[in-house]
C-alpha cells in the first residue's frame, strides 16, 4: 500500500513508520506543523511540533530511508482543536483535545488529503490494534495496558479506521524503545510527551485565564450560599478539591469538591464527596468504531478518561444518545469528556458526555 506516516518526532511514530516500511509498504513521512509560531526547543516532556521535533522526525525518516515533508496544519489545528478547547471550557465542559485532534486533524485533514493524493491510508504511532472482520475493520485495545490509546482513537468512524494503521498495538512500550535502538533511531530514549501539546507550560488554568480572562465569580455550596470567590469558573474541574481557597469550614470538617460549573452565571458549585457520585451518563454525537449497535441493552464497559478504568455497565443507543448505566457509581464526571464503550477489548464507539445522573 502507499501510506503516509504521521511523524511527530517521537519514538513511537518513528518505529511505526519503520515497521510499515519493513512490511513492504510504500511510505512517506509527514510531520504536522500544528503551531503557527513553533518554539525552537522542546522543554522536557511538554510541548510538541517544536523545530527540534521536526528535526528529529526528519532524521528518523532519513534513517528509515523514506521521503519526508512538513505539512502546515496550524490553521486547521487552531480552528478545529484549540478554539474548540477554549469554547468547551467557556461552556463549562471539560474537553479532551487529543481526541479532537485525532478526529479532526490526523484522521480527517491528513487522511482525506492523503487519499486525494493517491495514498491508501495513514500510519500513526498510537498504541491500539485493528482487526479485519466480516463486519469490516474493528478497533481494539493495545496489548500494553499502560500505553493503550484506544480511548483517544474512539472518535474515529469506520471509514477513518479503515484508512488507519497502528503498527505498535501488539508491542509493549519498553520493547518499542529497544527496537528503536536496534534500528538506529536517535529518538529511542526521547521522553514521551504528556499533557496538552499547545499548553507547553502544563498550566492549563493559567493558559485559559490568559485567553478567556479571569472574571471572578461566586463559589457556592449546594443550597446557594456563597462561601468563596473564584478567578474564572472554567479553570475548575469537576471533582477538584485543591486550590478552591475556601476559608469557611464545613460543619463536620470534611473537604469540599467542585460539583458543577455554571458558565452563564459564572458560578462554581461545591459540596461533599458523595455528591460527586454518578451512576448513569448520557452522551451525544455517538460514533461507531465498528458495526453499529443493535437496539436494546448490552453489557460492556465504559471508560471516561484516557487512562481511566473500564467500568462495567449496561449501555444502549436510544436513537439520539448513547446511554450507560454503571454497575457501581463513579466519583466526579464532567460533561464534555468522552465516554468510550468497550466490548471486551473491542472499541464499540464513543460519545461526548452531555448529561450525568446520580
Amino acid at each position: 500500500m502507499k501510506l503516509i506516516a504521521a511523524m511527530s518526532g517521537g519514538v513511537d511514530s518513528a518505529v511505526a513508520a519503520a515497521r510499515a516500511v519493513e512490511e513492504g509498504h510504500d511510505v512517506i513521512g509527514v510531520h504536522l506543523a500544528l503551531s503557527a509560531n513553533p518554539q525552537k526547543y522542546r522543554s522536557g516532556a511538554r510541548g510538541c511540533c517544536t523545530i527540534e521535533d521536526s528535526h528529529d522526525a526528519r532524521r528518523a525518516a532519513d534513517v528509515i530511508g523514506i521521503p519526508f515533508y512538513i505539512w502546515d496544519m496550524a490553521d486547521e489545528f487552531h480552528a478545529g482543536v484549540v478554539e474548540n478547547f477554549m469554547s468547551e471550557y467557556k461552556a463549562g465542559r471539560t474537553p479532551n483535545p487529543c481526541l479532537r485532534c485525532n478526529e479532526k486533524i490526523k484522521f480527517a485533514a491528513v487522511l482525506d488529503r492523503a487519499k486525494a493524493m493517491g495514498f491508501d491510508g495513514v500510519i500513526t504511532g498510537h498504541y491500539a490494534r485493528t482487526r479485519d472482520t466480516d463486519a469490516g475493520k474493528t478497533l481494539h485495545r493495545a496489548v500494553d495496558p499502560l500505553k493503550d490509546q484506544s480511548y483517544v482513537l474512539a472518535v474515529l468512524n469506520r471509514d477513518q479506521i479503515s484508512g488507519a494503521l497502528f503498527p505498535l498495538g501488539d508491542t509493549e512500550k519498553v520493547d518499542i524503545r529497544l527496537e528503536a535502538e536496534r534500528r538506529g533511531l536517535a529518538v529511542a530514549q526521547k521522553p514521551d510527551s504528556h499533557d496538552i501539546c499547545f499548553v507547553p507550560s502544563g498550566d492549563n488554568a493559567g493558559w485559559l485565564r490568559e485567553r478567556l480572562g479571569s472574571e471572578s465569580g461566586p463559589i457556592v455550596d449546594q443550597d446557594g450560599t456563597q462561601i468563596g470567590e473564584h478567578k474564572g469558573a472554567y479553570t475548575y474541574t469537576i471533582g477538584q478539591r485543591k486550590g478552591l481557597g475556601i476559608t469557611v469550614p464545613t460543619a463536620d470538617g470534611s473537604p469540599r469538591f467542585v460539583l458543577k460549573i455554571e458558565p452563564v452565571t459564572n458560578t462554581v458549585v461545591v459540596g461533599a464527596r458523595e455528591e460527586l457520585a454518578v451512576s448513569s451518563m448520557k452522551g451525544e454525537r455517538a460514533i461507531w468504531c465498528g458495526p453499529e449497535i443493535a437496539p436494546g441493552d448490552h453489557r460492556g464497559f465504559v471508560q471516561v478518561r484516557a487512562h481511566g478504568q473500564a467500568l462495567p455497565c449496561t449501555y444502549r443507543f436510544d436513537g439520539t444518545n448513547l446511554v450507560a448505566d454503571l454497575d457501581s457509581p463513579l466519583l466526579g464526571l464532567a460533561t464534555g469528556q468522552a465516554m468510550v464503550i468497550y466490548d471486551g477489548d473491542r472499541v464499540v464507539g464513543s460519545a461526548t458526555i452531555c448529561e450525568t445522573a446520580s
Binding site: P38, R58, D72, D112, A116
Partner: protein, 378 residues
Amino acid sequence: MSIYLDHAATTPMIEPAIDAMQRSLRKIGNPSSLHTDGRSTRKDVEEAREVIASALGCQPSEVIFTGSGTEANNAAIKGLFWAAPDKNLIVVSAIEHHAVLDPAHWLVEHEGAELIEVPVTSDGVIDCDFLADLVTTRGAEIALISVMAANNETGVIQPIDRVVEIAGDIPVHSDAVQSFMKVPLSYSQLGLFAMTISAHKIGGPLGIGALILRRAFEMPALLHGGGQEREIRSGTLNAPSIVAFATAVTESIYNAVTVSSLREKFESGIADVAPDAQINGTGAGRLPGISNITFPGTQADFLLLLMDGKEVSCSTGAACTAGVHRPSHVLMAMGHDEIGATSSLRFSLGATTTVGDIEYALSVIPEVVAMAKAANSL
C-alpha cells in the same frame, strides 16, 4: 531517473571546478602565511580574484570573499548602515531575498533604523517613480538602497541602472546572486556601490560568495580577526573554494540562449497541460531559467510532494526555518492574495537541463495538479 528543475536553489558543480578544487585541497599553505607554501596558495587566490573581477567589471581589490551570498548581503546591509551614522533610513525592494530583508529588519529592531520597502508592479518590477519620490523627499536620510539584480522566485530582472541613477550619491547595493553569469552584468557600468555574488549558483562549490565593494571604502565588519579581505571579512581564505569559484566562471557551460529556449518550450507546454495556470512575471524581462507558475486551487507543498513522488525536483519558493511553506512575500508584493501566493511552484532550469527533462516534467503535471486540487478542495 531524477529530473532536477531547481537550479536556482543550487546547480551542479561543473567538472573543471571539481578538479580545480581537488587540486587545491591537496596543496598546503595558508594564503596569509609568508613562506613559499603560503605564497603559492595566495597566488591561486589572487588569480581567482582577478578572474572574478574581470567577469564582473570591477577591480580585484573590490572583491571580498565571504562564506556565502547571505553573508555578503549581511555585511553590505549592516556595514553600509553602520558606515553612515548620521543616516537612519534603509530602502530595499519589497521582493528582496530574506538575506537582505532580514538584516534590514534586524537593524530596525536592534538599532532603531527605519526601513522603507519599495513596491513592485504586478509583473514584479520595482516602482522607480516611488523610489524617485522617496529620494527627492528624504534622500538626505537614506543610508543605503538595496535592490536585487533579478528576483530569485520569479526571475524578473530589475532596472538597476535606473536605481543607481535615481540614487545619486546614495550607496546602492545589489544582490546579484541569481543574475551573475546568467545575464550580462557589469559592476562598473551599472555604477553600483556594492554587489553580492555566490559560487554555487554558477557551477562552483557551496560555502563561498563574494561582496563586491567600492575600492578604498571602509565600513564596520561582521567578523573580526586576522584582518583578511580589507579587514571587512577576517578568516583564513578558503583557497580551494575560491579557486573553484573562479574556475566555474572561466569554464562555465551555461548557455543563456539554450536555457531560454528550453524555458519557452516548458512554458508553452504548461499552457497545454494546465490551461488555468498563470506564469508570473511574463510582462517583464526575466532570467533565462526561472519559471514561476501559479496553479489555482492547489497548495504548493502538496504539488511539491507529488512532483517529488514523480522524481521531479522543484521549489515552493520560500520556506521558514521549520520547513513550513509560507505565502511568498514576492508574489504577495506582486498583488497575489495569500491563497495565490501559496499555490505557486518555481521551476528553474540550468546548464544541464535537457529537452527530455522538460518533456517528462510536462507529462506528469496534469495528474499532479489534479491530485493537488482534489487534496486542496477538502
